[in-house]
Symmetry: C2
Subunit: 363 residues, 2 copies
């Protein structure tokens, strides 16, 4: 027994001095080539102070010579920081979520972290929890939730309290627990939707209809609520909304139902894709836009300007939002005080799909 132990420690796969040709070079190999200690190499790599320039150069040369690269897991284990941030995102190719996701991804790398992604195919709580678990198992330092969350309450519940998290895209809804680890960054949906509706009212429309998104998406709820609020404030009756699922197809179908109603002259669609579907339904119904029907969308997708009728829409600044959110998260990870809520303004892009209603004199 002791014999075995002894012989083991004796053989102990010690690399012969000067020759470490096996496998990937390690930090100790670099140290040997540079003629310095392991720790000094570590200092150079992490750009810590207290290393004289000549030594630093020697180490850098050794690194280049061996083609050394750090072992992420080893570093994470020793330093208790993985340097990774997890992003939970919707598994949809929709313009909004995708653009926002890419913005976040780039902002995270720019902040010096790597990005681990888990996508959600359904909007169910179990799948959300599963995604969180997966990300936490990889050891992420923080979490970004991209896009809307259908479960404003369970969101906070499903998140462990000890991982800094920023929910990006939606403002908190309902009674938000004052849990300091859950922050929010979002586009000002309500203001944007309000602007859109007011624009239509200002043009002289007696009624503004709404083609809403699926109500398990917070942005859909917010845009709907802002539409209602704006109408109420203006003292205008509030017609029943039609609902879609963000897709052009659903916009087309909802559009057909909408256009079958009397007196529909202006429609605020909750996103551009549905507005596209609506435009198709209008064409089929021989309603010319904007002469007899005004349409306004939300997002400002790149195609918006190049539709048969260039689409008036509400633009969201995803890049700006992403940078703000990542800044917030990184501060939080560093243990600094941060703003709990960040709101990024939206802007109304006027194009050709909105005009005065056909019969002005009726007033």
């Amino acid at each position: 027994m002791e014999k075995t132990a002894l012989s083991l420690s004796e053989t102990g796969r010690l690399p012969e001095p000067g020759a470490a040709s096996t496998g990937r070079p390690r930090m100790v190999d670099v140290a040997e080539v540079a003629g310095v200690s392991l720790k000094t190499v570590s200092r150079v790599i992490n750009e810590e102070p207290g290393v004289v320039d000549a030594t630093r150069e020697r180490v850098r040369a050794a690194i280049a010579q061996l083609g050394y690269r750090v072992n992420g897991p080893a570093r994470a284990l020793a330093s208790h920081r993985s340097g990774a941030i997890g992003i939970i995102t919707e598994a949809t190719a929709h313009f909004g979520p995708t653009t926002q996701f890419l913005g976040l991804e780039r902002a995270v790398w720019a902040a010096g972290y790597s990005v681990v992604v888990a996508s959600l195919k359904t909007r169910t709580a179990p799948e959300f929890s599963l995604a969180v678990d997966r990300l936490l198992d990889t050891g992420v330092d923080g979490l970004l939730i991209n896009g809307s969350n259908s479960r404003p309450v369970s969101l906070a519940q499903a998140l462990p309290a000890d991982v800094p998290t920023v929910s990006v895209g939606d403002p908190p809804t309902g009674n938000v627990p004052a849990d300091a680890n859950l922050l929010y960054a979002y586009n000002d949906q309500a203001a944007g939707a309000g602007q859109a509706v007011r624009h239509l009212l200002d043009l002289g429309h007696r009624a503004v209809h709404h083609l809403a998104g699926p109500l398990d998406w917070v942005p859909a709820q917010l845009r709907l609520a802002a539409w209602q609020r704006t109408l109420r404030t203006a003292g205008v009756p509030e017609p029943a909304p039609e609902y879609g699922d963000w897709s052009a197809q659903s916009g087309y179908e909802a559009g057909r139902r909408l256009l079958a109603r009397p007196d529909v002259t202006a429609v605020f669609a909750a996103n551009d894709q549905m507005a596209i579907g609506l435009l198709r339904a209008a064409a089929e119904a021989h309603r010319s836009v904007p002469a007899t029907l005004s349409v306004i969308g939300f997002d400002d997708i790149p195609e918006a300007s190049y539709l048969p009728v260039p689409l008036t829409t509400v633009r969201q600044e995803f890049k700006q939002l992403a940078v703000a959110a990542v800044g917030q998260l990184v501060s939080q990870i560093a243990g600094q005080e941060t703003t709990r809520l960040i709101s990024v303004p939206t802007t109304l892009r006027l194009r050709d799909s909105t005009a005065q209603p056909p019969s002005q004199e009726k007033k």
Copy 2:
């Protein structure tokens, strides 16, 4: 949820006996609670054989009680496998790349790996190398390259030989080095484009024009080449193509140039977005589709059916492709033999944007 809350409040999550009651529970804490060795806990967690059911249950209970979760970096360090796969992707919200990316992401998780992402804003070699470096520094076990690569040669050059890699989306071009670590999975672009062009020829069009994508994207090259080949085979003259950048806007502009030419009756656009722009240009030029102009796209984006004229297009099966690619990569990581090239077929989706040319009798 209530269960969790209850058990949490009951146990108070403080393992007393051990000294290290601070912070996250470790495997040794679980071992202590379960009354087994560290190694046995490891066995249970990794579902290794050789643990009797009773013991297994005891360990599982201890894990649940403590709320233990594995430390990814520690496991990666000890096992020499990070369990992560890196995906390099284009930083665009375009339908094709995004859909393909999401397919890959889900397929990777399904295969039991986590996903680290690096996006590319530009198509330059330095940025590509940077992305590879970042991913390798995090310790990924394999690499997926999502979408096209502009640099068929430098792609292989920029990749280290010791990391299994699958290029997803494009077939290899030019002389591919027989480097066993670089595999390919792709949609059969050439066949799809060929089908599209042949469809237009079969309808009786005397010429088929092409609205090509940017030539630094391999799919753009392939679709262009297939268009040329099909025309040549049919003995039809090959007009100069117009070029766009995949966007609706560029499609609109190229469409205007195209429609200014005489005798343009059929256009094969390299993607659906550009086809949308082209449709807009046609509307402005008072060319009705498909009566006086046939248009065909590529991708089959969800909106394609709901455009003013439902778009005939070539559908790509991204999900199927993703699953195949990940299977290929995982086998490669496991050191098994794999197919070096996987091709997934595309299909022509006939809708309303293609018809016979206006003047048939000219034939």
